[in-house]
């Protein structure tokens, strides 16, 4: 085998890349085509339909045949949709690698959105003569709320020594409840235009680069944190063997507090993007996100028993989940089946991973 290929296969996430590639090929082959009208740019920068001459000399509008999956708009849409879950999944990966779980990310997302929205709304669409201040305070409120939520989770888990499942399950209800009470269940909108213009900035054929760039940055930050920083090493150590980590002088409680702050922060970043993208927030936002985010982390190779996983892996996991749910639309499968399919994929991914671990273990004992 040529060595670059071998080193690619050795690469931890190569399996996920292969799955993504296979899914992409499958979707491209089975998606079929769609006829879309052809446009051209006019001299003054506008768009107008292109016409051709038909067989009987008439002017008829021109169409192009595009693959339903493999076209620029669809891929741009897929990238944007993935970025929200992927950003949160990076924070979740850190928590899961440390042997914890955070069920409250969807609610943190909602509460942070709503708090940010209320501040932005206060400054209004015109920004009360000071849009820069309004947007800055809005961002501060959104991220600050998310960090406070993380502090709430981590603080209670450390102080009460209660399993994170319980604390974050409680937080899931409490935080969404606060969001509901604060907004009286109403949607909050009417923000200074700057934020929306920035987040919705598009390049080329409708590609929203800002959420995508945020996803890339968060992934790189997560990757650096986990693989290059001492704190990341401690996360793996605690998830791998908490007692040995304690015996090695690691301040386990401090690390645990930190990971829930990180998880809160990534939910806050996703919330911020949604504020800009949708221009409004309600307490019902992000319902069920925790499941998508945990599913992305698990499909991406993070082990729920701790000690294993990577930032890049979970982002690829998020992409796989998103490809499947948009694939369901593209292939024209009944939408009602989407939950069944995604659930099956999550279970299959874990079974496959267990099988892989078993294989590795067998190789290890045979090598001896």
């Amino acid at each position: 085998m040529p060595s670059p290929l071998r080193s690619l296969l050795k690469f931890q996430e190569s399996g996920l890349l292969l799955v993504i590639l296979a899914l992409g090929v499958l979707l491209t082959v089975f998606a079929g085509t769609v006829r879309t009208p052809l446009f051209e740019r006019t001299a003054d920068g506008g768009r107008q339909r292109v016409f051709t001459t038909g067989p009987d000399g008439e002017r008829v509008p021109a169409f192009v045949e595009k693959n339903k999956f493999l076209n620029a708009q669809n891929l741009a849409q897929l990238a944007k949709d993935t970025s929200f879950t992927a950003i949160m999944a990076v924070g979740m990966a850190v928590v899961i690698i440390a042997g914890g779980i955070d069920l409250s990310v969807g609610s943190i997302y909602a509460l942070a959105s709503v708090m940010g929205a209320m501040v932005l709304n206060h400054y209004g669409p015109e920004g009360a003569n000071n849009p820069a201040l309004g947007v800055t305070l809005g961002i501060g409120a959104c991220l600050g709320t998310a960090l406070l939520c993380g502090l709430f989770n981590g603080g209670l888990i450390v102080a009460l020594r209660v399993h994170p499942f319980i604390i974050t399950l409680g937080a899931m209800a409490i935080l969404r409840g606060i969001a509901f009470v604060a907004t009286k269940g109403q949607s909050v909108g009417g923000f200074p235009a700057g934020l929306r213009d920035f987040v919705r900035y598009e390049m080329g054929d409708g590609l929203s680069v800002v959420p995508l760039a945020a996803m890339v940055l968060v992934t790189i930050a997560g990757w650096i944190f986990l693989s290059r920083m001492a704190a990341g090493r401690r996360v793996y150590a605690i998830g791998g063997n908490e007692l040995a980590a304690r015996f090695s002088g690691i301040r386990v409680e401090r690390v645990k507090l930190g990971i829930y702050l990180l998880s809160g922060l990534t939910a806050g970043i996703a919330a911020l993007l949604s504020l800009g993208y949708y221009g409004a927030a309600t307490s019902g936002d992000g319902q069920g996100y925790e499941l998508n985010v945990i599913a992305a982390a698990v499909v991406g190779g993070a082990s729920l028993s701790g000690g294993r996983g990577s930032a890049l892996g979970v982002v690829l996991g998020a992409l796989i989940i998103q490809m499947i749910s948009s694939g369901i639309v593209i292939l024209g499968i009944d939408q009602n089946y989407s939950q069944i399919i995604i659930g099956t994929v999550v279970i299959a991914a874990v079974v496959l991973d267990n099988f892989n671990t078993w294989l590795a273990k067998r190789r290890l004992t045979q090598a001896k």
Partner: protein, 497 residues
């Protein structure tokens, strides 16, 4: 002898260690047969093989002349073999009655028949004369009473052979007396008992025959009446030391590095006074449960309930603060490397640098080149045999894992090392290397406190040995007076013969 139970050439291999090496002997029907040996001699392993908890790699077992293969606890039970375990063998959240009938719950129309359940459990408890309420939750019983339930379960399911693994290790005096009465009672009913223990006086009071194992090999099987405790001790030891006189003994000692005064922890130990000087190796001996590991963990600040005075290099150390202990230059190589010592899923480089991480970090970043160099230096100094620094530690043999667990603290350059069981589950070659390393460390002026269950190890290495018994210090022996017999007598609290 009328052979009831025969072991023939039983062999059991664990990664890196030959736990049993062709062991063969016979057990008579209706006797209490003692199985004795030092830690790691293979006595518990043999008991577990008979009870189907582990399976042998070679050899055969005959029961009443027929070859049997107890490959699971259930298969063993069907053959009439049961085991009474040291630790909890039941579901602690269920009642005595439910646990006793767990394999075959009486049912009526799909519901548990509670009256029948209670009746059966009462009958089982009555056969051994145990006065235990069948409705009590198992978890609330003392270890001694829980053992009685285990015995009732064994007798109730028609066991002909009962293996008892260190049954008295956590019993009070009254409970032990009750256990002895019961053992005699079972014997009179024709039940054969295999009694695994290293408490000599107990075996001589209770058993008919005795088998001594050493390093996985059979040494002797004799009638208790034909032997003496002294003779058994010699049979248990009887091995040459693995190394010559260590070099550190020739050097002069430095200042006092660690001083412990009246250290105590409720329910674990009390009145512990110790001191270790620079360049000195002090041993801590004692049988399992004497409180040795608890003491070193308390010195390392892992016991929040500990009280007393700990002084490191002349400066007082607060009790129960691991961070202060680390800052003072203490390191602890714990007893159980898999559970406490290593993160097995990490690789060798990461495990070696785990305790030294603060020194390898600048602004939160791990200095990778420095880390690799440090890990390389200590893994090669300890001659760790592994494909590379990036090999996952779980894949190494016991000896190499233990070396990594040691390397971790050397990488942090600790001045005072607390080492709990330096060579447990380690093969002979690695043992010699670890001894040599500990000697070198002492020569470099480090202070070492070594806890071990293997007396030859302490006798070979140490300048002084502190002996613990029942959570207190039973005595201290200087090198000139070292002898296994003397130490063992102190450990067991037996007067000199």
């Amino acid at each position: 002898m009328t052979a009831f139970l025969q072991f023939q050439a039983i062999t059991k291999r664990f990664p890196g260690v030959l736990a049993l090496d062709g062991v063969g002997f016979t057990v008579e029907r209706g006797t209490c047969h003692a199985l004795i040996g030092e830690n790691g001699a293979g006595k518990s392993t043999l008991g577990k093989i008979l009870a189907g908890v582990q399976t042998a790699d070679g050899g055969e077992i005959r029961l009443d002349g027929k070859v049997i293969t107890p490959d699971s606890p259930l298969a063993a039970r069907e053959l009439g073999i049961a085991m009474v375990h040291q630790e909890l063998a039941f579901c602690p959240n269920l009642s005595v009655a439910e646990n006793l009938c767990l394999g075959d719950l009486p049912r009526r129309a799909g519901f548990v028949d509670r009256a029948e359940l209670r009746k059966r459990a009462k009958a089982m408890l009555a056969t051994i004369g145990a006065d235990i309420d069948p409705d009590v939750i198992i978890g609330t019983l003392s270890t001694g009473r829980e053992q009685l339930v285990q015995i009732a379960a064994a007798v109730g399911t028609g066991a002909k052979v009962i293996v008892m693994d260190e049954p008295s290790s956590s019993l009070s005096a009254a409970e032990t007396a009750e256990l002895f009465r019961l053992v005699r009672e079972l014997k009179s009913r024709g039940i054969t008992l295999i009694y695994v223990s290293h408490r000599l006086e107990e075996l001589f009071a209770l058993c008919d025959n005795i088998t001594v194992l050493r390093d996985g090999k059979h040494v002797a099987t004799e009638r208790i009446a034909d032997t003496t405790p002294q003779r058994v001790v010699t049979q248990m030891i009887g091995r040459e030391l693995l190394f010559a006189t260590p070099n550190h003994l020739a050097k002069s000692l430095g200042e006092e590095r660690l001083k412990v005064a009246s250290l105590a922890s409720p329910g674990k130990f009390s009145g512990i006074d110790l001191s270790v000087r620079a360049g000195e190796i002090v041993g801590v001996a004692g049988i399992v449960g004497a409180g040795r590991s608890e003491v070193v963990e308390a010195i390392f600040g892992l016991d929040a309930a500990a009280t007393g005075y700990i002084t490191v290099k002349g400066a007082a150390l607060p009790c129960g603060s691991r961070d202060a202990a680390l800052a003072a230059g203490l390191g602890l190589v714990p007893e159980d490397r898999k559970r406490q010592g290593l993160v097995l899923g990490l690789n060798n480089r990461e495990n070696t640098s785990l305790a030294a991480l603060p020194a390898l970090t600048s602004l939160g970043w791990v200095k990778r080149a420095t880390e690799r160099e440090l890990a390389q230096r200590y893994t090669s100094r300890l001659r760790v045999k592994a494909p590379s620094l990036e090999t996952i530690t779980a894949g190494l043999s016991g000896g190499n894992q233990q070396k990594i667990a040691l390397a971790k603290w050397l990488a942090r350059s600790c001045d005072v090392l607390l080492i709990d069981e330096p060579t447990r589950g380690v093969d002979v070659g690695a043992k010699a290397e670890i001894y040599q390393l500990l000697d070198e460390l002492a020569c470099e002026g480090k202070a070492l406190l070594v806890v071990s269950s293997e007396l030859p190890e302490l006798i070979g290495l140490c300048r002084r040995i502190v002996v613990m018994r029942n959570g207190g210090i039973a005595g201290e022996v200087q090198r000139a007076d070292f002898s296994e017999a003397a130490l063992m007598r102190l450990m067991a609290g037996v007067a000199a013969a």
